[in-house]
Symmetry: C2
Subunit: 430 residues, 2 copies
Amino acid sequence: MRRKQIHEWLQSHREEGVRFLQRMVQVPSTQGNEEEGQRLIAGKMSELGLELDWWEPEGERLAAHPFFYSPRSWFAGSPNVVGIWKGSGGGRSIILNGHMDVVPAGNREQWQDDPFSGSVVDGKLYGRGATDMKGGTSALLLAIEALQGVGVQLKGDVILQSVIEEESGGAGTLAAILKGYQADAALIPEPTNMRIFPKQQGSMWFRLEVKGRSAHGGTRYEGVSAIEKSMIVVRHIQELENARNTRITDPLYAHNPIPLPINIGVIQGGNWPSSVPDTVKLEGRMGVAPEEKLDEAKAEMTAWLARLAEKDPWFVQHPPVLEWFGARWVPGSVDPGHDLMQVLIQQYREVRAEEPVIEASPWGTDGGLLTQLGETPCIVFGPGITEVAHYPNEHIVLDHIFEAAEIIALTLIAWCGLEGDEHGGEENMH
Amino acid sequence: MRRKQIHEWLQSHREEGVRFLQRMVQVPSTQGNEEEGQRLIAGKMSELGLELDWWEPEGERLAAHPFFYSPRSWFAGSPNVVGIWKGSGGGRSIILNGHMDVVPAGNREQWQDDPFSGSVVDGKLYGRGATDMKGGTSALLLAIEALQGVGVQLKGDVILQSVIEEESGGAGTLAAILKGYQADAALIPEPTNMRIFPKQQGSMWFRLEVKGRSAHGGTRYEGVSAIEKSMIVVRHIQELENARNTRITDPLYAHNPIPLPINIGVIQGGNWPSSVPDTVKLEGRMGVAPEEKLDEAKAEMTAWLARLAEKDPWFVQHPPVLEWFGARWVPGSVDPGHDLMQVLIQQYREVRAEEPVIEASPWGTDGGLLTQLGETPCIVFGPGITEVAHYPNEHIVLDHIFEAAEIIALTLIAWCGLEGDEHGGEENMH
């Protein structure tokens, strides 16, 4: 009955919902340029009567935190915004988290339309951030708006967060955690293709400097090619990847051919065709298992690299230099039997009349921070299309946004409890 | 008798000789900045009564020549200078060729002293260009000065060339050839460690673009790593190098473990640690055998790369793109039995009382252009130290400059002939 009301409310407000997402996508909220987008969100939050918290992350405690990473330490003009929909009391609280920052548009020529057009074609909305993850955030706002539209008052608090810096290391969500935001559970609608991810892979960036010895190319036998040595290093790392993946038995990874990839993304060495290169730099991303600690993964890499000398005695005197740099994403793991999982799966079945796909994510989100550091078990589930995130012609299927909004609205009722309803909310608190 | 006079003249003018080289080294005559150095040379040529030719290379004929390569097409302020010591007639002529341009000093911190200090320590003169090849050029000037000092008049012409652009493709020597300079033979005192090179390796630069397919590093199995594919390409090229070297039977290469190296000097691919790289660029130098044509070597590389698909079907649809770019040095080959070889070897034995080392050079010089295009068989022999050319703390052993000057002076007598002498010069003309 209530499901029907919510469904109808969403159908009859489809146009406004699409227009709001369009406006959000048309704001190019890349790193450092989030303020205008956040104003849009804050405006909508005010409209919905949420209690607003708007602040620019700052301070020593943030920057010195072991989980802090950002290429910048100055967030003026880049506010976080949180809106609280206070419950009437006695229900379970939930954090709903989306990020405002989008990655750069990249090469304009690879886009069929303006990267920030927000244009709608064949039921899809196009533009940078449409999928990752303004579409997800708009589903959160629609869920709250629909609940209010049909006259629902929840028992538990809904804490809606629109954060900065997800794409560059999670400093926005970290700042929200350090400010004290915590709840009984959390949901992040990152682009999962409507799959449900109770676990997520973490990752860290590493850099390796592989050494050779310079010489003129005409007498290259007098030198040692860092390019040839780097090939040994790349193969050695592939073996580590194999070894780590044979340990993965989690059924949530059953359909993933490489659950814990080690990706070498960048190679750079030498500066003159006629010289033997004396250095090659490799940069990559090491996947971290949902239950693994970042430090454990680092230690395994270090120990493995020490064994390079078994492959080639060159490495005895010239071991590659390993450095962990740049972004890292904390992994997260929520028991697939967790109550919020049960609730979410149940609502998914109701709305879509099919079984959801439940997997472990092959990439990190701010959910790892919420689960590990914020003590708020976080599940990732959203309407965006994984494959087009960060790519030209990024888009989202509008139907999925409204389906996700419906599932989330029903999940909020079941999780936070309905005022005046004996069932839901309180009774599920253990 | 005459040898003794020349030897003594050189010994008694050692100080002036060193001072002149010092002044030359103190002029940082990198590409585009050769004029001041050329003025020094021209001044000395005038002092010696040589007939001067000073010009800035230019023109369509030069730029359109198939052997032309330079990163620039504008040589204003970068003159060639040629000085002719006219013979009295009836003798064989010779081109003596040195280049004024030096490679950049590189990282100052790797130099113990200022890179253009010209300072003398323990019988060695230090600075960029000391070995490559202002020391060689000063040996040429000393040889002529010594001959004049002891009252020698040669029968054949001596054409002394100080050219630009050797380090970047030979446009200076090419311009001199196109201007009509030709002789019965040529000598270039590039840094050979006093070895005699009748043959020299040519070389060409190539670039390979190896393709992959991009994907997020977390799902790297959805992509194809251009880094992994480039490893196959590098190994494939190593096999081509092997194949080419097994064909080399020339005894002049007996002591060279890789007579015809293919050096991969630069690798560059990917731009994000978390992405599967879709392109890797390789840049390298392909050695060309003394008797080989550049086009033959190019054709062999092209045919070999076409066989990559046998190693990995990926290359059927995604063959690497091969491009020949930048500098190339034409190989050169003079019969080891050539008269100038005989003369030079004889004088070497006289002066150094030992057998010279005769080899094929592992790198190109402007000698290839002189031999192949200028129809002037060219031998390379000089006092510089191969190993320190292009490196920090470049230096030259001063004794070797004076020994080389003596050998060259005696060679000029034997080759060009002595006025009023029935022996030498004419009688050796076949």
